[in-house]
Symmetry: C3
């Protein structure tokens, strides 16, 4: 149902600050922590001694010490030591490829031999000082593909987020969708509209008037396994819209990493990368708070939709033009899953 | 297990005041709301677009607007409109016969072709200004038949409701039970007793002394699928009991609509229709509060009884004379269920 | 999975003080209460009338009165009376042998014909005024054998209870384990160490210095079905350790009765019997509070270990020297279970 030979965001660096983290990714229960040189490591969350979760233990000088009886586990899944024991014969536990990059910890829950860090999704803004980033994490009980659908069809903003980023003009501007290899792009452009509240705040944040007609854009880019980057912004009308100069617009990238926990639950890493006033920490906090509130509005809808679909597995859902982004993304996933199964 | 070709109370009017309500009745997940002329409608709670529950949406001019992407649903289960879409080919969703009557919203979860509003249980007091009504709703995890049993055997009052309506004399007065067609009636009469606290309050509410011997009656009337109306009251002794003139008694009808949600859960609509001082709103509120407290005392017992029965499905329960009301009610239900299955 | 022909601690006397208690022991749902002469009784928690749990009822002069319709149950599982009913033909419910002894209520969930109160675990300290006892009860979602393992391998103290009774020297002192019939004993002795915080408090409680080198011992005694008594203590170094005179040591027995509720949950009765200052109630309370806190630290570990094992039923756990106590205890249990099955 989800590709396992893929890089997923497992957590953020602050989640493993000085202590191990237990997290299930694609049905694999992992313990994630920093090893001796500070590098990240991901192992099965299962102590070979008595099955205790290693994530309840501690990190001591880069060794993971089981919180039950003190077994010391190495980053390679081999027991380093245990008080009073010879550990050479202890069975190793599974390791998962893990890499820290672009401000996230990435793991590969599938066949380790196929893991190539070069394939980790590139975030051009992540180490660029002209950009600022703020984000958060939600746990949601839904199939990860329902969240991809959600993000690839932003007409829901008018209904789910009516008081922040929704506006009637979204419905009226038909989106266009195209696939390029494994990437799917759905774009929508609106011209000469009044910015909704969230974008009025962003305009003010960038020192621009918030009551003038603007051009607005939404360019949703899906890339497998489940990343959706959305270029969003507004520019004062008559300055070129998406192409307008930086001092005439407020633009950002909505960052969404959707990590399947199980078939019906996800870790949803959301955030916004901003290309204006990157040094303004108060603005980052304000945007983060607003976005966190907006994205929390999707939770109940997605969880209830999931329950409805589980109760009616036989129903065929509609695939309208607005759904093309989700539909084409699912096709990419099916292709990858078929290839993964063929290789096995 | 429960007849589906029957009228059940689904909700009260205040529950759909200005917004749709999601409610499961006999395993059918419905959205209930008011259409363009204010008439009630009940549909599958499933948007044909992407399966979102329509009950998370809004009512706009009698149209049900899906809260996810704005599909507008009509009372006939056909999509009226959707922003930017031609909706003619959209699949219809199921509709359920729904009628507002006697202060309740009634739905028919079974074969719509067989639904006849004339069969809705008649409540003679409901539109009679000489009567007042107050009630509430509880959700209980038990088979709806356990609640029928409960209400058709009021000897439980002595034990479950010892401090309000229970009294030893109930145990001592053997009930009589008879069936008339699909109706089952269990009656109990007590003479020359002291009224228990709830009825002392009712006597005072009707301007009568609360410390005189009274005659008390309980006449429980089951009618399918799961309505139990209980005539209850006390009259000052020596004035004819049940037949006493209005100024010598305090009498009411306990109103119970037991709507199966699933095989092991119910929506329990309880209330009291009162034939004295109907204009006294404070008395209505006081009785409602007292009754709500009393009926909440049944919850734990019924839920724990249900768990015990699920753990011991092989056990045969006793069928004593006091159980005759429940036993005969179940027979009516079995007959209806057999007829329903034969017709299929 | 657990022997049923065995005496288990079901509850403490205060839990049935004036009212019946519902408790499941080895998958048997029981109601436990005091009969006419104050003797304890344990019955199926199932009223023969309509299946209500008798534990929701009341005790009236040693009779158990069902809280639903007033059936009066006797200690022999036979209905004594019911208002307005002849009860002679009522089916009896199952009774379980039950005995009050040593400050606990013991029940036998298996074949009553085999129950011999002489086999109840003897607690020599329980009625000895030179000893004081304090304890508590935890409900934990784990296989009872995981708690036996926990208590028969105290190396976990260093990690789970690092701030109270744990210390590095535990790891360094290899335990020895031996079986004697059905009893398994794991012993560990440490010499010339500094007492950890809990034992410093105990030393002070016994009027001894808390900063001198001490000898420490832990002697864990498993006896079936699931009792673990642990002799623990510290003596000022050079006075004979375990054999030191009473005024040179602080010693106790950690008392653990592990009663299976289901295959994956337990009632854990923990406590400490103390052989010094028995009259000091404040010390009893202080030790009880400290021990309660310490034992609560095991809960999350055991519940999470249980989940891990359920997710990986195929895994073979390691059986190190420190695990010998648990391993040998399980062998005793397997022997008893095999004998129980052979007898059936």
């Amino acid at each position: 149902m989800f590709p396992k030979n893929a890089w997923y965001v497992a957590c953020t660096p602050d989640e493993i600050d000085g202590k191990p983290l237990g997290r299930k990714v694609c049905n694999e229960a992992m313990v994630i922590y920093r090893g001796p040189e500070g590098q990240v490591a991901a192992l099965e969350d299962f102590c070979p001694h008595r099955g205790a979760p290693l994530s309840l233990g501690r990190c001591v000088n880069g060794k993971l010490v089981c919180g039950y009886h003190g077994l010391e586990m190495g980053c390679d899944g081999k027991t380093v030591a245990m008080p009073g024991q010879r550990v050479r014969g202890f069975p190793a536990i599974r390791t998962y490829p893990a890499v820290e990059r672009h401000g996230f910890i990435w793991v590969w829950p599938g066949d380790a031999a196929k893991a190539d860090p070069a394939q980790i999704h590139h975030l051009h803004w992540a180490e660029n000082p002209e950009w600022a980033y703020g984000g958060g994490l939600y746990h949601i009980h839904c199939d990860y593909r329902l969240m991809i659908d959600n993000l690839m069809d932003l007409t829901h903003e008018t209904y789910v987020h009516a008081n922040s980023i929704g506006q009637k003009e979204i419905d009226e501007a038909a989106p266009t969708t195209k696939s390029e290899g494994d990437e799917v792009v759905t774009s929508r452009f609106m011209q000469g509209i009044i910015a909704p509240p969230f974008w009025q705040m962003a305009l003010r944040g960038n020192g621009l008037p918030d009551d003038q007609p603007v051009d607005r854009w939404q360019i949703c880019r899906f890339s497998p396994p489940s990343h959706v980057m959305i270029e969003v912004g507004v520019a004062l009308a008559g300055h070129g819209g998406y192409e307008a100069p930086a001092d005439k617009k407020a633009s950002s990238i909505v960052v969404d990493f959707i990590t399947p926990e199980t078939e019906t639950s996800i870790w949803y890493f959301w955030g916004m990368a901003r290309h204006f006033k990157p040094e303004d920490a108060a603005l980052t906090a304000s945007i983060r708070e607003g976005q966190g509130k907006i994205f929390s509005e999707d939770l109940e809808m997605l969880e209830r939709q999931q329950k409805n679909l589980l109760a009616h597995p036989e129903r065929n859902l509609l695939k309208l033009n607005i759904d093309a982004g989700g539909v084409q993304s699912r096709r990419v996933l099916e292709r990858l899953l078929a290839a993964e199964q063929a290789a096995e």
